[in-house]
């Protein structure tokens, strides 16, 4: 890495200038959302944009938290996100482990089809999922959403975890077995600690999808089971276009993914690039 470091100060300067400009372009819309969430309606409605200097207010946040069903949506999103993530990691981890460590009939078939179904478009799932819900009268049941999010995330999670399992030398497990460890002990005592960052990446990606997903949530949830994105989208039609409140809601939705990004950027990037760079 350090071998190709640049030295010419003028180059370094223009390099940074370019990166800072790009970073500002990337951040500007997100900052505008956060700022607008703290503006009162008079400032929002005026034509001249204000980036920084205005008197911040919590009115928008107070409104969405007390008048809407925000607490309900938040609770639903948290439940759906965490349960779907846990299920995906558990089932996907088992499957990835078997794919990485054993030979069995149908292994290639499972591996190939896992990558194929990874790309199933949500729009294709929409009608059949809607039909399923009608059939078994499952509307207003968070379990349906959890089920579909687990299914949607499993292929990518398996693929990612497979890569992490492959990096662990088999000798470690063999040594533990020689020492008299049971298969379960090998898994929990030897492998799991080494797989921490793998599960963290898979968990972040799964949670992000489950937390952010909109179209299936819109179709498959009812009054009491709506998630945050569905609630936010509803602001446009429910109350006219109240940008302050909408942006406050947007800011709240963005908080968990932003926290993940700040604390695990390196891992997220490794997950994103894995597909392209390894291939």
């Amino acid at each position: 890495m350090a071998a190709r470091q640049i030295n010419n100060p003028l180059h370094v300067l223009s390099h940074y200038a370019a990166l800072i400009l790009l970073a500002l372009i990337t951040l500007a819309p997100i900052w505008i959302m956060v700022a607008t969430g703290f503006k009162d309606d008079v400032i929002v409605q005026q034509k001249e944009p204000i980036w920084f200097f205005f008197v911040p207010t919590l009115d928008n946040y107070e409104h969405i938290m007390t008048r809407g069903k925000f607490d309900r949506y938040l609770w639903n999103s948290v439940i759906v996100g965490t349960v779907a993530t846990f299920l995906t990691l558990f089932l996907g981890g088992l499957c990835a482990y078997a794919l990485a460590r054993t030979e069995f009939r149908g292994r290639v078939l499972v591996a190939n089809s896992t990558l194929l179904v990874r790309m199933v478009p949500p729009a294709v799932l929409a009608v059949p999922a809607f039909a399923m819900v009608l059939n078994f009268s499952l509307d207003n049941d968070l379990a349906v959403l959890i089920f579909f999010y687990t299914a949607l995330n499993l292929p990518f999670a398996i693929w990612l975890l497979f890569g992490f399992y492959k990096q662990i030398p088999v000798e470690l497990e063999e040594a533990a077995i020689v020492d008299g460890a049971t298969p379960l002990q090998v898994f929990f005592r030897v492998l799991l600690p080494l797989m921490k960052s793998g599960y963290a990446v898979a968990g972040i990606f799964t949670f992000r999808i489950a937390w952010n997903e909109f179209i299936l949530a819109l179709l498959l949830t009812g009054r009491t089971t709506r998630t945050l994105p569905v609630g936010a989208a509803g602001f446009i039609t429910d109350t006219g276009v109240e940008w302050g409140r909408i942006m406050a809601m947007g800011t709240l939705i963005v908080i968990p993914p932003l926290l993940f990004t700040f604390f695990a950027a390196r891992q997220i990037i490794s997950g994103m690039t894995a597909g392209a760079v390894k291939g």
Binding site: K47, E48, L91, Y97, V241, W243, G250, I253, A265, M272
Partner: protein, 289 residues
Amino acid sequence: MLGPYFFILPAVAVMLAGLVYPVIQAFYLSFYDWKIGTDFDDAPYVGLRHFIRMIGDEDVGESIWVTLKFGFWTISIEMLLGVSLALLLEKPIRGASVFRTIFILPLMVSPVVVGLIWRYLFDARIGWINYYLGQIGIEPQVWLGDADLAFFAIVFTDIWQWTPFIFIIVIAGLQALPSEVLEASKIDGANWWQHILFVKLPMIRSILLIALLMRLIDVFRALEVMYILTGGGPGRATELLSLHIYNRAFDTQQLGYASAISVLLIVIVFILSYGILKMGNPLKEKADI
């Protein structure tokens, strides 16, 4: 020797029930004329009629055209920008990780929120874009109410969101190149352009191709940002194929016909996915034991 099956079976069962079964169901539903609010048992069997209708359906044709147009503009601009920036800014510098953290932010933001932010920015009355264009003497535009401008708006939003992704992937690929080869080309006297065109780009060819295929698949899967930003309108100007299927199913309420179009979508996406698969399935490598 049933061991491995106990490990893979639960995950495979969930994927079969949650992904494969719905796809089969979509095929099945495409043979029936089922409308929302009616009992499926009363839906008449129509055979291949939906598919025949689809071939001559101008709305479907237009939506495929919009999708291809959208894919062409977004992907070529994102690739051009992302790859050039990566080539210019490839050298490791202090603080690179801070910039990379910032660049992945747009990908972490919920598509609904992306749609909401840009709908605000493109707003005709209080949108920031109109204000700043006004500052340089350009008349305010009704961005989301005009076919061409709305199309420009969804392309612009997509470029904001996805260029950093290409940038990061290509940088990772460039930095993983073996330095001996790069040194050799420099010693051979290749100038900057030759170095990039004949050495670097060919070496990251497979990364570029996979990034291209991934983005193309995304274009066919995408609907959430447009659903919020324009709803597909005005007319069908921004109605990508996925959104078209959704609107057909739940707006005009033709579940059977929408399923037939989604069969077409599945075929397109599977062909593209097969391309990625052909380029190397990492899961297929031999197991260690």
